[in-house]
Symmetry: C2
Subunit: 679 residues, 2 copies
């Protein structure tokens, strides 16, 4: 290249260099390492390589781009423009020659590695680097004088046009390539997946030039809920999102009861495996329908899940996970075909399973780490993914620790007398007046609080049907703040509390939140058993966090991130009043939404992220709660609300907590009688 060759500057990258006059803009971009997309390989068919020339004077770059610095539209480009609309000022980079100094903008939609954004604690910016992409090739016709197979000519073209070598293909795809070349006149569009050790694999075939829908599923397979996002692998756009209940619930509410079922029932594990695979298939079909494509448009899926779900999905035996040493069949990241586990997506769809961290710390925790990146934080950050099983991560730039804690399903509204899943009509927020002890609440589906005028009318539509996970947390915390319940979790009598909403039920008291019995509706109350269930769950969560803090050698954390589908709805203040999480400035407690799901989406769209999390899981120190004696101590101490020994002084400075004692209640009365008898 000589100094008199045209100078080309690409924005926004700022990459610049001289190219011989007559070089295509696409080629110039490739020479200079500028990311410009192309599916058709420069044949002027796909329009993925559209760029925006910036004519005129560019003082910043020290050049003037004349109108004749680019060649006018040639026959190929004109033909394209006659058939399809092109944005004003855009040019087809593969058909346009550089003739003079030029500044050329590459719009985001023309970049392969464009960035997309996902909502999380903070917005996650994901650089697109998907495993699956489409390429178009034209091949020489068959020539019997130099015989070579169709596939050999396709691989030669893939090597020449795309620099791809050693492409894997199944015989089923070979048959499709053969047919597509006949139908497409020696031209074919292939979908290639490069997830397995970088070796491209043919996963889809279309005759001639095609713009196939290449969709991927990011699946967060939880014990209770299966959540999935269907994403366009070319643009990164989410096309449909949804969830279904995990049908394994009928075999056991929590992980350990499912392991027991597998252990006690011959064929039980296989039964659960079949159930969850079928549910995933149904969910995928629904999401594809919603996005207006067939299920065969799904070329990839990424899974995050805890170890028991992992084993049950893959057809591995979960029984060893039920007892020490909690031996995993494998914890490594897995690349496999959808067919291997009986999922009917595209015939050659590929799956990626994020690595597990340990026998009780799953790929869901790994996905949270991928999304929340504790290893990059300055602040010592505690991340709790709240679900039936809580995944807990604690770390900063120096070190990351992880454990899992069996909280049970109380936080999700299960095992709660008026509990229900988060749906229209469920109480999700609660406030109790500390003076009158009267509550007000909000239900899902209605913007107003229950004491606002419009509520009565609007609630005739949804009803007030129960209380969901975030509602029960707020209710119990508000009862504590209002002095309806003491630090031991005992609900007071109507006399002691001074409210008729406290009612005796058997030997204990309940607090009535909503009574519609006069009109045949439900009575929604918080019972003593409900408080006990929440105490057990929050003690397990807090004990897990404390164990990690011990291991880290700290007794305070600097930041708390609440993750999990349900984490998004927890009020930080109420979580801290309950003592679910350690004392920490409230403004430092944030919600990450479904961080595991976000991690799955990141892994779906970016191959580099898969390598990052595979490396990170080896760096994370695993702490096994089940065999750590201090876990029991922490668990017992965490039973009090907020805590028996940890001062929670930061919280108490903000939220005054009265300290009544309801030992005179029937529960303690019994204890006192028993104690007397023993004397």
């Amino acid at each position: 290249m000589s100094d008199t060759d045209p100078l080309v500057i690409f924005t926004p990258s700022g990459k610049r260099g001289r190219v011989p006059a007559g070089t295509s803009v696409l080629q110039a971009a490739r020479n200079l390492g500028v990311d410009v997309d192309s599916v058709c390989g420069g044949h002027g068919i796909c329009s993925k390589c559209m760029v925006r020339p910036a004519f005129g004077t560019h003082p910043k770059h020290g050049i003037t781009a004349a109108e004749d610095a680019l060649s006018p539209a040639n026959a190929v480009e004109r033909a394209y423009r006659e058939k399809r609309p092109v944005k004003p000022g855009y040019r087809m980079s593969c058909q346009t020659q550089v003739l003079g100094d030029m500044v050329i903008d590459v719009p985001a939609e023309s970049q392969v590695h464009k960035q997309v954004v996902r909502k999380a604690a903070t917005d996650r910016v994901i650089e697109m680097d998907p495993a699956t992409r489409a390429v178009y090739v034209e091949i020489a016709p068959a020539d019997m004088h130099t015989p070579s197979g169709d596939w050999e000519r396709v691989t030669a073209a893939l090597s020449e046009s795309w620099g791809l070598g050693d492409v894997a293909v199944s015989v089923a795809m070979l048959a499709e390539v053969q047919a597509a070349l006949i139908a497409g006149g020696n031209a074919v569009t292939l979908a290639l997946n490069t997830a397995r050790a970088g070796r491209p694999r043919v996963v889809g075939v279309w005759p001639g030039f095609a713009e196939p829908a290449l969709y991927g599923l990011a699946i967060d397979l939880g014990s209770t809920t299966i959540a999935a996002h269907l994403t366009d692998l070319s643009t990164g756009a989410v096309k449909a999102s949804g969830g279904v209940m995990n049908p394994q619930i009928r075999f056991g509410e929590d992980l350990m009861s499912r392991v027991s079922y597998a252990m006690m029932t011959p064929g039980g594990a296989a039964e659960m495996t079949a159930a969850v695979r079928e549910a995933i298939g149904t969910l995928a079909t629904e999401l594809a329908q919603e996005a207006g494509v067939g299920i065969e448009a799904i070329f990839e899926a990424v899974f995050v899940m805890n170890p028991v779900m992992h084993h049950l999905l893959l057809g591995l035996d979960p029984v060893p996970l039920g007892q020490a040493p909690f031996a995993l069949a494998t914890g490594a990241a897995l690349d496999l075909s959808a067919r291997e586990i009986g999922l009917s997506f595209a015939a050659e769809a590929q799956l990626y399973v994020l690595p597990l961290i340990a026998g009780h710390v799953g790929a869901d925790a790994a996905a949270v780490a991928l999304s929340e990146a504790p290893q990059e934080q300055e602040d010592l950050t505690l991340i709790v993914d709240v679900g039936t099983n809580a995944e807990i991560l604690l770390g900063n730039r120096e070190r990351v620790l992880a454990c899992s804690s069996p909280t049970g399903p109380a936080f999700e509204g299960a095992q709660i007398s008026s509990g229900q899943r988060a749906a229209n009509g469920a109480i999700e927020r609660v406030e109790i007046d500390p003076v009158t002890k009267e509550p007000r609440f909000r239900v899902i589906g209605i913007a107003q609080w229950s004491d606002e005028p419009a509520f009565a009318r609007k609630s005739t539509r949804t009803g007030v049907t129960g209380i969901c996970g975030s509602g029960i947390i707020e209710a119990v915390a508000e009862m504590r703040i209002a002095g309806i319940m003491d630090a031991n979790g005992l609900i007071g009598s109507p006399e002691a509390v001074g409210s008729p909403r406290c009612r005796k039920v058997g030997r204990t008291y309940e607090y009535v939140l909503h009574d519609a019995s006069a009109t045949g509706g439900p009575v929604i109350s918080i019972t003593q058993a409900d408080v006990r269930a929440i105490q057990l769950a929050k003690s397990a969560l807090y004990a897990g966090a404390r164990l990690l803090m011990d291991e880290f050698g700290v007794d305070r954390v600097e930041r708390v991130v609440l993750a999990g589908a349900f984490g998004a709805h927890i009020s930080p203040k109420h979580a801290m009043v309950l003592g679910m999480i350690p004392d920490c400035p409230l403004e430092k407690v944030t919600s990450a939404g479904n961080a595991a799901g976000t991690g799955a989406q990141i892994a779906l769209l970016n191959l580099g992220a898969r390598r990052r999390i595979e490396a990170l899981v080896h760096e994370i120190t695993k702490v096994e709660t089940a065999i750590e004696p201090r876990f029991q101590e922490h668990f017992v101490a965490a039973n009090a609300i907020p805590h028996a020994t940890d001062p929670f002084s930061g919280l108490r400075a903000l939220v005054p907590l009265p300290e009544p004692s309801f030992n005179a209640g029937p529960d303690s009365g019994r204890a006192t009688r028993r104690a007397r008898r023993r004397r």
Copy 2:
């Protein structure tokens, strides 16, 4: 290593070197690059590493091996000897330490790369280097303080004990590994296949130490016959051999009629694909039964076949092979799983398909090249693989050419009036007395000729049922030698020939070879139509060979190899009298038996051979008979017996050929009458 360290010499390799005293014999062998087998990895379990120490004075090597130059049997070896017999003088090399200078013989059965022999034109020596082998590993128990999956600990052990990295495994095999480790007490035997790009893949799993039957099938899939050898992949021993008719015959006798069926019948190709896959499954089941194993003991299969069979087996469309440019879907060697094409061997059995040479020259020809190695011959060698389609190779160290020629099934006894397949009762050899014109023959299953005393009695058991391929060739050639038939292939009248065995049938004559009609048996004769069928077949074969000779620029070949299951039975003299093959000294015409099948066996047992044939097919010059105008000329000239223009002087010097002319026969009479009328 110092000069005072013990010197160890291994025979038969002659490799020698010093090792520190106390080194195990197995380790010493590995240090010195001596090939000693081991499945258990040195745990004293498998006994594959047995060696034979040679004590005493070895003047040739300049050392004396004292009785105490090896450690006595330790507890592990003694325990093994109590349970199982050990050949006298053999020691377990992994348990025996070198203490002084020693000569140690490694018997063939203890070598991984031992040599096995296959009968072919000359005995083929195959070095064992199979893709599938068993390895045993013991792993550390699961430890929850340093959590790692079962599979991660297995791969660590495979790396440490066997130097294997990056082992591929399906989730189904992962589940079996998990179960086997529990049943086997953290020990497992794996079958690994390294055919795909050298990356080991788990194809079988057994708890603890096991000596699994690892069998492989070498399959020669012909248009008419499917032949297979079931081979022990550890020893190279053939355990069972057999064949079945290709059931596709019901869709068309020859290749082109099957291509037509695929073209004309919707779903026809799929129907033929299903039929052949089913037949292979049945054959494999029978062979496994004969060998006393289940079909799940088959871990590998190698296929050789012509392009049409290739496409039909793999589910590719054969229609493009029916017309120029004869475009193959692929001609490359293929590694795939048996499951991909619906073959039920071991669940993870792997297949290897030899490369095709061109649109009409198949993997069967490639296998013949692998077996007969024309590229290594000093003599210019013509190899004809005689079947329904003939594969023809011509070459020497300089160059190899190949073509295929559509001979049709006449050589296999099809389309012949009394033709039958080679089975008991079929006439396979014929002699005709040139003076009396009386024949004698031999039938399959009886050692005596038909004019020997014992024949009559013995033939009551088998009968004389028809004439097979080699019988028809000998019969027609003998008729030519005896002057019963002229050079144009016309059979003479009883008067002209001077024998009542010539009988008029319609407008032509037939020669009666055997007449059992008096006792209700068959009349076996050679009709004029039979001779015409043979003439067409042999003309096609000869024309193909001539085309290659033209291309090579020669008019003589130095050696002829007759290959094909049927080639083994052809008498060279009779083949040359017929003019099937060019004139050549008779002692230079040899039979290679089923060279394609031998090639398949070589590829089954030796990975290097696969790489060799993959390279060789690119070096072979393909000649396309269907589009070469000279093929027609050669075909017409080859119609005469032995040939209209080629002198066959070498043959005539050995075998006098009378030159009667039966133009006065009914055929020519008609021609003469027609000619008269035209005047």
